[in-house]
């Protein structure tokens, strides 16, 4: 319909126009985001202090070796590619998990970092390091088990009548403070080496990426993601309003529990693989929302999460002098100004 007739069109037509327009922008933004994630993924694999050309990369992927650079295969297949794949997966998991909680509890502060899920994982890991000398895979098990225990604890404590979402956040913050303080106490009492490795783990790092870890993560995600994809429209319905969701015939309580479990699992498996990469779950939702013009989208949040992690890891491993800076440092250092910039811009537009 031509624009100049919009003024005298029927209200129904105007609503329809508005709706198509508001649908168009997210789709385009998500496509652009997906391309950006692909670009930064390739950049992480191909460029940097060790450069691989695209044809060589394809050769290596197909199992061949590159003439004159026999080490290239090892560097790509055992370091750069696994790091990039792991970064992509955990970035998406953190981004989606943060968006689920923020949407479900209708509070921008309700990301897994704030409501105790990540802290629970960290407590598990630190206990594992201190008392059982856990490393690698066993460390991940500790992290998953503890964050699930904490999440179940918060769920049990906050269930019942009244405003469950509100209570969930409050309980989460309380439990998070408790876990955080136990972590600080344990760290103050361990020897300095263990304290360093605990601090490194809690910052979030891709340095332990390998194919075993990726396959475990992929297996778990393969179970979780279909649920999220199938059910996500219900999440949006609840976010719009519980009464509306009721009138659409949704069982609000059950849907909410399902999504809390899904969000916890996403955050927990990602945390188990890399440590809680600072800030990704927290900023992906708001940034994605800003980019796609105010609408909520789990897909966009997941893509923003992946973009942040991949870019941060690229910079951390290539442009920081010591070369050992964990990705979690960079996500915070970059994520914060981006979020601040978005907030300030939104404020200026409003003002």
């Amino acid at each position: 319909m031509p624009a100049f007739t919009t003024h005298n069109s029927s209200p129904a037509q105007r609503v329809k126009d508005l709706r198509t327009r508001s649908h168009r922008r997210p789709r385009r933004a998500i496509a652009v985001l997906a391309v950006a994630v692909l670009a930064v993924f390739l950049m992480r694999v191909l460029l940097g202090s060790y450069t691989v050309t695209f044809p060589d990369f394809l050769t290596i992927l197909q199992g061949g070796t590159v003439e004159g650079a026999r080490g290239a295969r090892f560097i790509v297949m055992e370091d750069k590619l696994p790091r990039a794949v792991l970064g992509l997966l955990v970035g998406m998991a953190f981004g989606a998990s943060g968006a689920i909680f923020q949407l479900l509890l209708r509070n921008p502060l309700a990301s897994p970092d704030v409501i105790g899920i990540s802290t629970g994982a960290s407590l598990g890991a630190v206990l594992g390091i201190v008392y059982w000398g856990a490393t690698g895979f066993s460390l991940s098990i500790f992290a998953v088990v503890f964050s699930l225990l904490i999440a179940v604890g918060i769920m049990a404590l906050s269930s019942g009548r009244g405003n469950v979402g509100h209570r969930f956040i409050l309980m989460g913050i309380g439990v998070s403070a408790l876990a955080g303080s136990i972590i600080n106490y344990l760290i103050s009492r361990m020897n300095l080496n263990s304290a360093s490795s605990a601090a490194l783990w809690m910052t979030g790092s891709l340095s332990s990426a390998n194919w075993d870890r990726i396959s475990i993560l992929l297996l778990v995600l393969a179970v979780i993601v279909p649920f999220v994809v199938v059910l996500h429209s219900r999440l949006h319905a609840i976010a719009v309003g519980e009464e509306l969701a009721h009138s659409l015939g949704l069982n609000v309580a059950i849907t909410r529990w399902i999504f809390i479990v899904l969000g916890v699992l996403l955050a927990a498996v990602a945390t188990a693989a890399t440590g809680p990469i600072a800030f990704v779950a927290f900023v992906s939702g708001p940034i994605a929302r800003r980019l796609i013009g105010g609408a909520h989208s789990l897909t966009a949040s997941a893509l923003v999460g992946a973009f942040i992690v991949l870019l941060a890891d690229f910079i951390a491993s290539n442009y920081i002098a010591s070369g050992s800076m964990p990705v979690g440092v960079l996500t915070g250092v970059f994520g914060a100004p981006i979020l601040i910039w978005l907030l300030v811009r939104a404020q200026k537009e409003a003002g």
Binding site: P108, L109, D113, V114, L157, S158, G162, N163, H166, R167, I169, L170, M171, I173, G174, V175, A177, L178, G180, S181, I182, N184, Y185, I187, S188, L192, A195, S196, A199, L200, M202, T203, A278, F279, F282, V283, P286, S322, S324, M325, P326, G328, V329, L330, T331, G332, V333, G335, A336, P337, L339, I340, L343, V344, Q347, K348, A350, G351
Partner: protein, 323 residues
């Protein structure tokens, strides 16, 4: 009200008597009545009195700051930490250790105060951009963003400089064990100033609770008043953090608990929060001395161990009180 004062008295007595070496009630009574007391006991009582004074003061300051924060941001989850105070202080301490070669607790205190103050001013300034000024949501988001960013820098430093990690991990527990009268004095004036600001603003905070528009129509200069209260909050929690290291959760919990007990009137919540905060911190400190003998557990840790169950109980069983 009376119960609270009674609790306060009990907490003071317990804090003086209980510890690695227990003091008898009779000995304490002799001490108070200026009757002769063995030197050893007298020295312990002296030290514990100073320590109790610190715990009560810091507890009151943090609870007041929390109450002000929750009132001004209309957010029951408001906590001085939202202004980035703790992350700013930790960042400044680590920065000072890593790059300025500082290592004494006194220099940590200065660093912590500067870090806390600069961070909260930065949060407030950035949140103020735009016509409607520093609204609650903008403050909360901006504070969280800046806190997280600073936290990343702190991690970067402690991963590169292991002596910074070593100092930070002790400092960040928060303790009143090193209390002394000399170190009490510069801080107490700033705390009193901050406390006065908040007490005299409690009526304004009540108006804020109705929303910015309503407050303005009741004759409040919203932007100015909010800024003044913010200065008070920064003085309180910045100074408290510089004196003891970060003590989490008290600022969040004390006003929340009070709101469940006395209702939403800030003219009651603010002064009573101070008393309740003092009680909580004294109890937490006393518990820390005996919970894991022969060692002392820092009050920042026991505060959370004591506080969280109370908080969970309130959230679970009290009627949800919104602002």
């Amino acid at each position: 009200m009376l119960t609270l004062l009674l609790l306060f008295g009990l907490a003071v007595v317990a804090s003086v008597l209980i510890g690695t070496r227990t003091i008898g009630v009779g000995v304490f009574a002799d001490f108070l009545l200026k009757r002769p007391v063995p030197d050893m006991e007298a020295a312990i009582i002296d030290q514990r009195l100073v320590r109790t004074l610190w715990a009560a003061t810091i507890g009151a300051a943090l609870a007041l700051a929390g109450a002000g924060m929750q009132g001004v941001t209309r957010n029951p989850l408001g906590d001085p930490g939202i202004l980035g105070v703790n992350s700013g202080a930790a960042f400044a301490v680590v920065f000072g250790i890593a790059f300025l070669g500082m290592e004494s607790p006194a220099s940590f205190a200065i660093l912590a105060f500067v870090g806390a103050a600069v961070t909260s001013v930065l949060v407030y300034a950035l949140a103020s951009i735009g016509r409607d000024g520093a609204t609650p949501v903008k403050l909360a988001l901006m504070g969280a963003a800046i806190s997280a960013g600073l936290g990343s820098f702190t991690s970067a430093f402690i991963l590169q400089f292991s002596d910074a990690l070593d100092s930070l991990r002790m400092w960040q527990l928060g303790t009143v064990a090193g209390a002394s009268m000399e170190n009490f004095f510069p801080g107490i004036f700033m705390l009193i100033a901050g406390a006065l600001i908040l007490v005299f603003s409690s009526k304004t905070i009540n108006n804020f609770a109705l929303g910015d528009d309503m407050a303005a129509s009741l004759g409040e200069n919203v932007a100015l008043k909010r800024f003044i209260i913010f200065i008070g909050i920064t003085l309180l929690c910045g100074t408290a953090t510089s004196m003891t290291g970060p003590i989490a959760f008290l600022g969040l919990m004390a006003p929340h608990a009070l709101r469940a007990l006395v209702g939403p009137d800030y003219r009651l919540i603010i002064p009573l929060s101070a008393v309740f905060g003092a009680v909580l911190l004294m109890v937490a400190d006393t518990v820390g001395r005996v919970i894991m003998p022969p060692e002392e557990v820092q009050v920042g840790v026991t505060m959370v161990l004591v506080g969280v169950p109370v908080f969970l109980y309130l959230v679970r069983f009290q009627k949800a009180v919104d602002l």
